[in-house]
């Protein structure tokens, strides 16, 4: 019976993948073994910027157990470059990364050679025997021209500049009662999936086919790219997605290894496995954030916002990889946030340095933009003597103003508008949850040696990137259902969510549903998982396919039962007619193939939104911050599985707090990465932030898709720096401390407090 109380969508259904993961029966790349399999290790540049004079691999090649040492010379012809997947601006083309360094290295960690050996240990031994002669060039560690430019085409190391905006910011600033300008920055850090990257490449010489296992995120795109580089047809390559231990944006993009490992497998005609170790990971995976901003705001003296000007500066590292300029572009686009600011002008400058290239990491650009803007708003409120809640309330876009266009902030993207929502209601809910009314008198108060602060951060967050997604549903002969989808599963629970959607439409029990995902073998075309799109796009495609399949099933059952479709329902794995006659799904599927393809195309983005609130204490003597309470309130339109959304939100908050307090890729003036190990690259652990809460609302469904869903995986992270830094700043306001830069390490806060004291020796 398709009765509402049994619907799974909207319920915290237990994840179908959990039993597999919790019992240790998940299957990850490193679990795979093949007969005759070899192992690869990659020689990475130990020096940031240099010309390669010579590479001598002879000693390594002579070592027992070594099968090949591959360098640029072995690739033959032109070295392939990593394509620009998102927003392929022509300006970026000269800065793309060759898959292996031929005559120049531009960052520590850049691949120079691949050793393939009987074991990873032997391969690592051989790395030590490769002799590379460098002629060092000066490292590029920051913005501006340097003695040795990284690329001949850019003396100033700048790869892109643009300006964009709407309204007339100049006029707004000229006429405003009040103007303030501040410089902010977010440090270079990145995602840290538990499972590092890994690939198993297998070449079948007889059929000239390549199978690469360990792919994820954008497998179909990556197959196209790889086919081109290897001069193979797309159909000659399968990219297989199995279990994935975390993605967060960094995993699954096309990296040098995505060419090098398949190349080695083809060259040797042997299966080749490569598993990134943690040190490699920290220097090879896309880095992210690393954005600075000069932000100006113009207001009336009552706090009404009139104009915003933002100059975004983004350290892209040594090359422009697949994500192009998404990080700075989104940092600029989301500067105005959920506020009614009629005049906005932004500019973006991306510059190259001799550091690991930058890509997207959960909430790319948003984490940064929200931090910049929300910090500045608190400064404005303090200047104008307005309560920090009141100034937000006053300027938040109201429901009546939606859809609210934010066109023109990204010059190469079309018009877009904040879609549906009630920003004010969600904001008020966050205030209620944190206990704003009762607690705001604590701001800056010193109690038992620690100062209290409560901070707010509001956001809007885009999701559901187009153009489309595909799904194929098959009713198996045993009456179970197989879903194949082009979206990728990276541990986020997508199998369950898609299963719920199909189960509701087809009235097939959840435990009779199997979800196949990501692999290029499943469908002709797929678009992947990024930009909070998998449920919006993949989920809607599954819904479409499920509706079609339901019709087919009923039609066939109608022939059997001699009753019209309209009298038939699916229940207990049977199609049942109103008169009680029935036929089993298994029987129907045995008779005839019952399958349906579904698709969902849409280029209108969803905009989820919300408010975070943090209550912290700061020990002003040590700089230690403790989170006493934290709540993130977000309207995701529709939560297909509230338990999964909640888990996503809590995890995202923790990850965001890592970015606020811990995660920091530290480089020295030679552009050496100083903390490429988890001993020194700190991330939050289970005990660091025990008191976090997330409230998921479904106030205003999205109108762009039949599920009403908006992106739900990133809202938990995007306002963490905003709310937390505002709380820390509020705690330290009586000491004259302002917060502009992350991370908020104890030594940094201690330094800020000390400097403020030294400026005004009498401060309390």
């Amino acid at each position: 019976m398709n009765n509402v109380s049994q619907l799974l969508v909207g319920h915290p259904v237990e994840r179908m993948e959990d039993a597999r993961f919790l019992s240790g029966s998940g299957l990850f790349v490193d679990d795979l073994e093949r007969d005759g399999m070899l192992h690869a290790a990659i020689l990475r540049s130990s020096i940031a910027h240099a010309d390669i004079v010579s590479i001598d691999t002879s000693a390594a090649l002579r070592m027992p157990g070594v099968h090949a040492v591959i360098t640029a010379a072995d690739i033959g012809g032109e070295i392939p470059v990593i394509p620009l997947r998102l927003a392929p601006l022509p300006e970026f083309e000269p800065f793309r990364q060759p898959v292996i360094a031929a005559d120049k290295v531009r960052y520590v960690g850049e691949p120079i050679a691949v050793v393939v050996a009987d074991s990873r240990a032997i391969a690592e031994d051989a790395l030590e025997a490769i002799d590379v002669q460098f002629e060092a060039l000066s490292a590029v560690t920051g913005r501006g021209a340097t003695e040795d430019a990284l690329f001949a085409c850019a003396d100033d190391n700048v790869s892109l500049r643009y300006s964009a905006g709407f309204g007339d910011a100049d006029a707004a600033f000229a006429n405003a009662d009040y103007v303030r300008t501040e410089r902010f920055s977010v440090q270079r850090h990145t995602a840290l999936p538990m499972e590092t990257r890994g690939l198993l490449a297998e070449w079948d010489s007889s059929s000239a086919r390549l199978i690469v296992t360990g792919a994820t995120k954008v497998t179909f795109y990556n197959r196209r790219a790889l086919a081109k580089m290897l001069d193979l047809g797309q159909d000659d390559i399968d990219l297989i997605e199995i279990d994935v231990g975390g993605g967060f944006g960094v995993r699954g993009e096309f990296y040098p290894e995505d060419f090098l490992i398949p190349f080695a497998a083809r060259k040797l005609a042997r299966p080749v496995k490569w598993i990134e170790d943690r040190r490699e990971h920290l220097m090879a995976i896309n880095h992210s954030r690393d954005v600075a901003c000069e932000l100006s705001i113009a207001c009336r003296s009552d706090g009404t916002m009139l104009g915003l000007r933002g100059a975004v500066f983004s350290d892209m590292g040594a090359y422009i990889r697949t994500n192009g300029g998404v990080v700075p572009a989104k940092a600029a686009q989301f500067l105005p946030g959920p506020y009614r600011i009629p005049n906005v002008s932004v500019s973006v400058e991306t510059f190259m340095t001799s550091k690991t290239p930058v890509g997207t990491y959960r909430g790319p650009g948003r984490f940064e933009a929200n931090f910049f803007r929300e910090r500045l708003i608190d400064m404005v409120a303090l200047d104008l003597g307005i309560d920090v809640a009141e100034i937000r309330r006053k300027n938040l876009i109201t429901e009546a103003e939606l859809p609210y266009p934010i066109d023109g902030l990204v010059p190469y993207e079309g018009p877009t508008s904040y879609d549906t929502g009630n920003y004010v209601e969600v904001f008020e809910r966050a205030l209620l949850e944190i206990g704003w009314r009762d607690k705001c008198h604590l701001q800056g108060r010193l109690i038992d040696g620690v100062r209290h602060g409560i901070g707010l951060g509001c956001f809007v967050e885009s999701g559901g990137a187009g153009p489309k997604e595909n799904a194929a549903l098959t009713l198996e002969r045993d009456g179970s259902l197989t879903i194949a989808v082009g979206s990728s599963v990276l541990g986020q629970g997508l199998e369950t969510v898609l299963g719920q959607i199909a189960a509701d439409t087809l009235s097939i029990p959840f435990d009779r549903i199997r979800v196949l995902h990501g692999s290029t073998t499943l469908l002709d075309e797929g678009f992947g998982t990024y930009h909070s799109r998998a449920v919006v796009m993949g989920g809607s495609a599954v819904l479409d396919a499920a509706k079609k399949l339901r019709e087919k099933i009923l039609e066939q059952a109608a022939n059997h039962l001699g009753r019209p479709n309209s009298e038939l329902t699916i229940a207990d794995q049977h199609v049942v007619a109103a008169n009680g006659a029935s036929v089993s799904l298994a029987a129907l599927a045995t008779e005839q193939v019952l399958s349906a393809d579904g698709t969902f195309a849409n280029t209108t983005r969803t905009y989820s939104y919300g408010t975070h609130a943090a209550h912290v204490t700061v020990d002003p003597r040590t700089g230690r911050v403790e989170i006493l309470d934290y709540v993130a309130v977000e309207d995701v339109g529709r939560a297909i599985n509230p338990a999964i959304v909640h888990g996503q939100a809590i995890g995202a908050i923790v990850q965001g707090l890592g970015g606020v307090f811990f995660d920091h890729l530290v480089y020295d003036e030679e552009a050496q990465l100083l903390n490429a190990s988890l001993a020194d690259y700190l991330v939050p652990t289970a005990s660091d932030f025990p008191r976090l809460r997330a409230v998921t609302l479904e106030l205003r469904p999205s109108l762009t898709n039949p599920l009403g869903a908006k992106g739900a995986g990133e809202g938990g992270i995007v306002a963490v720096a905003a709310a937390t830094a505002n709380a820390v700043a509020a705690a330290l306001t009586p000491l004259g401390v302002e917060i502009h830069h992350l991370p908020l390490t104890p030594p940094r806060l201690w330094r800020l407090i000390k400097d403020a004291r030294d400026r005004t020796p009498t401060a309390a």
Binding site: E124, D277, R451, T622, S677, D680, T685, D688, P746, P747
Partner: protein, 292 residues
């Protein structure tokens, strides 16, 4: 991050272990819990030809409490210390300090002997050994020698141990009744090595003045150290807020930390003062009005 090529042996007696170390003339290395050595090998910062696993040598995993003090065998793990309820009375400072070492997995394996031999400047065990005037038993081919803890560490990760010597025991002098003490450290996350740590204890005579104060610090130099200027200041005085501030000022001047990626030197220097204030205030049950 695979280990360099090496051999492995697990001797069954101490004498055998030492003979093997001696026979390899510096190319062999003892391994106990492996919690410091394995990372060094994985990063290929050490590449011995032979690992001599001393983890199962008999008679080195005792915690003995007697009038002579507290004896810890070299193979005693952090978890052994944590689980031994007697130590909360017999040596509360040790128990409190060791509670800060690392996380479960590491606490189950890491050993007292390994920690002393590894001599990380921020490690708790060497710091407590120095603070308490412990005596370390070292056995080598030529027999046994007793090394006072303050002579044991020579500098960053280096000790008086010869390549063919092993630590077998560390003895902490007996803990007096009614002793006042406290331990504080500051680490970025729970279980991390401390950015700075301070241990202090003293006894009280019948006039209420401090006797025999001991103050040790970790994490702020190339090795753990005693702050004798502070001890001299405290000796024979009765503790009050003014004295605590004076002691903290002396402590800041007595240490010489360096900058690293986790903290600038000035921060660590100041933390020694802050932590000493807190330690003395706790030990003396004095409420400090902290300037904040």
């Amino acid at each position: 991050m695979k280990l360099p090529p090496l051999d492995y042996i697990r001797p069954v007696t101490l004498a055998e272990a030492i003979a093997i170390l001696a026979a390899h003339g510096g190319d062999a290395k003892a391994i106990a819990g492996g919690q410091s050595l394995m990372p060094l090998l994985a990063f290929r910062l050490a590449a011995p030809e032979l690992l001599v696993d001393i983890g199962r040598l008999p008679g080195l995993r005792h915690i003995d409490i007697s009038v002579e003090g507290v004896d810890l065998g070299a193979l005693v793990t952090w978890r052994d210390i944590e689980r031994d309820a007697r130590l909360t009375y017999a040596h509360p400072l040790l128990a409190a300090a060791i509670a800060h070492v690392a996380h479960y997995q590491i606490r189950n394996r890491g050993t007292v002997g390994g920690s002393l031999a590894h001599a990380d400047p921020a490690a708790e065990m060497p710091g407590i050994a120095i603070t308490c005037d412990a005596l370390i038993t070292v056995v080598g081919p030529n027999g046994t020698r007793m090394v006072p803890a303050n002579e044991f560490c020579l500098g960053g990760l280096s000790t008086v141990l010869e390549f063919d010597e092993l630590v077998t025991n560390v003895r902490l002098p007996p803990w007096k009744q009614n002793r006042r003490w406290a331990f504080e450290e500051f680490a970025r996350r729970r279980g991390d090595f401390a950015l700075a740590g301070v241990a202090a204890f003293y006894d009280i005579d019948q006039n209420g003045t401090m006797r025999d104060p001991h103050v040790g610090v970790i994490g702020v130099g190339d090795r753990p150290m005693r702050l004798s200027v502070v001890e001299n200041l405290l000796e024979g005085k009765s503790l009050d807020a003014g004295l605590i501030l004076q002691a903290a000022a002396l402590a800041r001047d007595a240490v010489d930390p360096t900058d690293d990626i986790h903290a600038e030197a000035a921060y660590r220097r100041d933390m020694v003062g802050v932590l000493l204030e807190r330690v003395l205030a706790r030990a003396g049950n004095i409420v400090l009005m902290e300037a904040a």
